[in-house]
Symmetry: C2
């Protein structure tokens, strides 16, 4: 997801830092993106939190607690964090959403973030491999919710620049639970129907 | 929902009984459908359970317990019940899905049905008003899951005949929770974006 987001944003002209705990891993991830985008740079996570005011949290949900523990105190006040995580359990090849006690990954993360950091949740239903092929149109919708209209707007300022994607605002973080269920549903559709990039469009909007 | 389902099915050539507790209410509902479809008849619920082997449970979720209590013992063995209910709570004009202890309306209903009755769950994300305007194309997808592939197939045998709708099989009833969340999400999209018939399509399938 991290590579895909970095590829799409930089392809859309948004200056982007691709971070990892170790700089070498970020450099390797950048190499895997394949194309070279102007304004896309590999850095350490420390650089990301020092230099960015919009930060995508693209780690497995199981690593969220660790990553937040390490970096949350170092995010610049006013930063908006964008959660793209989904706690999934795989059972007989099928994905199930395993909600944390707060109801969703987004609400869990909100509960563990300092108040001066905003939170948006999105990119829950976009297939990572498709996201990574930045030359291929996404041709779908993606839902976004946030802890305030401002957090959502800050995330959208970047994401709306991805030309083949329509962002659909669904309000507060209480919507995240539905979006995280839809991740599992999209994976189920992929597996059952032997496709690779099932995603959603809202008809009638 | 009941009127819409009856209208769409009979428009598609499926012989359909539109039932209500009282025959007069079924007759009134039939009159509200507006068009006359060959093979669509208003009857009492007792007639429905006596004569049908595919029965749509289109009542508010709050009435499900009562309706099941009254009719479940009278369904013909081998009948497939199709659950289209969603437990919603409205809060400041927004819809929230309120899952029953079993996780979804569908799983709740399954837990209260005799074993010789099959259960499918679908039509959770189709807007009732649009469904009722049977001449208007639906132009979207609808998800279906069931307690067995047979139950799903039995429901699809009727629903696949609705020409402007693509049914997407998402497996067992454990998928129903996602679908019921999506009902609330579609209503949220309607309210926030001032549209009336937000619904879903799967891209990449």
């Amino acid at each position: 997801m991290g590579r895909g987001i970095a590829a799409r944003l930089s392809a859309a002209g948004v200056p982007t830092l691709l971070g990892s705990r170790q700089l070498e891993r970020a450099v390797a991830a950048l190499a895997r993106i394949g194309s070279s985008f102007r304004g896309l740079q590999a850095v350490s996570n420390s650089d990301v939190v020092d230099r960015c005011d919009l930060v995508f949290l693209a780690v497995p949900f199981a690593s969220v607690a660790d990553v937040l523990q390490t970096y949350r105190g170092r995010l610049r006040p006013g930063t908006v964090l964008v959660d793209v995580t989904v706690p999934l359990r795989f059972e007989q090849g099928m994905a199930r959403f395993e909600p944390p006690p707060e109801g969703s990954a987004a609400e869990h993360i909100r509960a563990h973030l300092p108040t001066e950091i905003g939170l948006a949740a999105t990119f829950k239903t976009l297939p990572a491999p498709l996201l990574g092929r930045a030359a291929e149109p996404l041709d779908c919708d993606e839902f976004i919710c946030g802890d305030s209209p401002e957090s959502t707007a800050r995330a959208r300022a970047a994401l709306d620049r991805i030309a083949t994607l329509r962002m659909v605002d669904v309000g507060g973080l209480e919507a995240a639970c539905a979006l995280e269920h839809m991740t599992a549903l999209a994976i189920t559709v992929n597996k059952r129907h032997k496709v690779r990039a099932a995603r959603f469009r809202v008809v009638g909007l």
